[in-house]
């Protein structure tokens, strides 16, 4: 019994030594990184391959539909870019759904690009919101809205439209004001979100079971139409930080 164990260990020992003996030295790995940029001569076969796609793409995407005073970029807890997007969604959804909305949200992870300073093309809006997400409305009781904001704060704060402000303290929402008044846990608020979030995406499970009003209106269409509307009213995109979302002191 004991000797069989010894045998087992010695074979283990031999196996170990055998492997070590076969290894002359450990692998050596050299790392490097290439920046893929315009300095590089481009391979024209790819330009040819993309040509048929790009031609018809450019026709629809290069149309200029607006003008931005500043470059707008995503940032937490609040950014001019987030304010532009949520205001666009709130404004357009109020028209399309024909009712007043208390606030509109965009999940931070859903902002996929930026708005450059100057001319805004259709393509820019597609890059900003490439997903075919729909605007949906939900009637949320104050306590439910608070629990949603809890998740939002846990994730560092998401953009919100005019109509709602909140502060983040230790990853929790505080000082929630709706239309300038403290949140009422028993009142009902109409909140716009993407169908992705309303269906429980980005861990927003608390919204999943709440009925959704859906008119198949794409978030991207809201952004496109809002930008066109500003232009037709001779207004540029000029979103600013308005202390809608702050870190509590």
């Amino acid at each position: 019994m004991f000797s069989s164990k010894i045998k087992k260990y010695s074979s283990f020992l031999f196996a170990t030594l055998f492997v070590y003996a076969c290894t002359t030295k450990p692998p050596q790995v050299n790392y490097s990184d290439y920046k893929v940029d315009k300095q590089t001569n481009i391979d024209s076969s790819y330009i040819r391959m993309l040509m048929p796609y790009k031609d018809s793409l450019d026709k629809s995407m290069n149309e200029v539909i607006g003008f931005s005073v500043h470059g707008l970029f995503k940032k937490q807890p609040e950014s001019p870019l987030g304010n532009f997007m949520t205001d666009a969604i709130k404004t357009m959804a109020e028209k399309k759904f024909g009712k007043k909305i208390d606030a509109a949200f965009v999940n931070f992870g859903g902002i996929r690009s930026y708005i450059p300073k100057g001319d805004i093309t259709v393509g820019k809006i597609f890059e900003l919101m490439p997903f075919d997400n729909l605007v949906v409305l939900q009637e949320l009781k104050g306590d439910k809205l608070k629990s949603f904001l809890g998740r939002v704060c846990e994730k560092g704060g998401w953009p919100v439209s005019t109509g709602l402000t909140y502060a983040i303290k230790d990853k929790l929402p505080v000082d929630i004001l709706i239309d300038g008044k403290p949140i009422d846990e028993t009142a009902t608020y109409i909140i716009a979100n993407s169908d992705y979030i309303a269906n429980g995406g980005d861990n927003c499970d608390m919204l999943k079971s709440i009925p959704k009003q859906n008119i198949n209106y794409l978030m991207r269409d809201a952004l496109l139409e809002y930008t066109r509307m500003l232009t037709s009213n001779a207004k540029p995109i000029d979103a600013k930080i308005e202390n809608r979302v702050v870190y509590a002191k």
Binding site: V19, T23, P26, P27, V29, D43, L57, M61, N199
Partner: protein
Amino acid sequence: MLNNRRKFIKNSVLASAAFAVPTILSAKSYSDDENKRTLTILHTNDVHSRLDPFPMDGSNNAGLGGVAARSTVIKQIRSEEENILLLDAGDIFQGTPYFNLYKGEPEIKAMSMLGYDAATMGNHDFDGGIENFAHQLQHANFPIINCNYNFTNTAMQGKTIPYKIIQKGNVQIGILGVGVELQGLVPDNLYGNTIYEEPITKANEIAAILRKEGCDLIVCLSHLGDKYDDAKVSDEILAKQSFDIDLIIGGHTHRLFPQPRKYNNKMGSDVLVNQVGWAGMHLGRLDYNFFGKKKKKMSKAHTVILSKKTN
């Protein structure tokens, strides 16, 4: 008593072996290059339909990326090195109007032209629906490797493989792939009946097979994300919980690592993890130099010497 004695013997054997290794290694001259075998791994992740470079609009990324420029970089390296493996860690789709209009066709065609050896699936590769991804694979001449999505009764059934063994010169590489939890990340209707399985167990199972096959290097393409504040499974956790994986090519979190990260696995061996940002603005390169011709068929503790490539 007897038990303790055995333990003592066992521990002292292990301890002396452990001490002996560095001595043997350091005693040998590192300039001994006989039987040196080399492999160059080039990799991308989260390219997100960035077929053209970012436009010259004055933003930080202006002019960066694009398949034509990437091809030039890759061709140059191909002209200098013999054994090259080109890999992608997922999220091929979504992010430019190309995807909205053409649903991934030019992305997959470009990757086939670039000569990718393998890719894994990211969460955004489900964005056109699972049927769409399956459909676009008709344009792929490289395999999609994943071991933790069960695609039974979906359009993807039979269209992925859990691993692939590739021979490059005299180096044999085993490649496996893992994907991120889909629930809560991808709308239910897009991933359909796909079942997400726990990636660490699955990856270890597959890597053990690849080790037994005698692979010199086991590479895991991962779309788990590099690491998180909470206990969510990540490349960091996978690396530490693995036995046989040598290298994790990561994605999902869009991080540009200044250099590959090194972790200790369950065997005390070094595991490297690398990730190169997103949108194809960077191409990662790892040059492996193996010494000795013996293939390793069992898991064992080993180190990896990592340094910045100098030209």
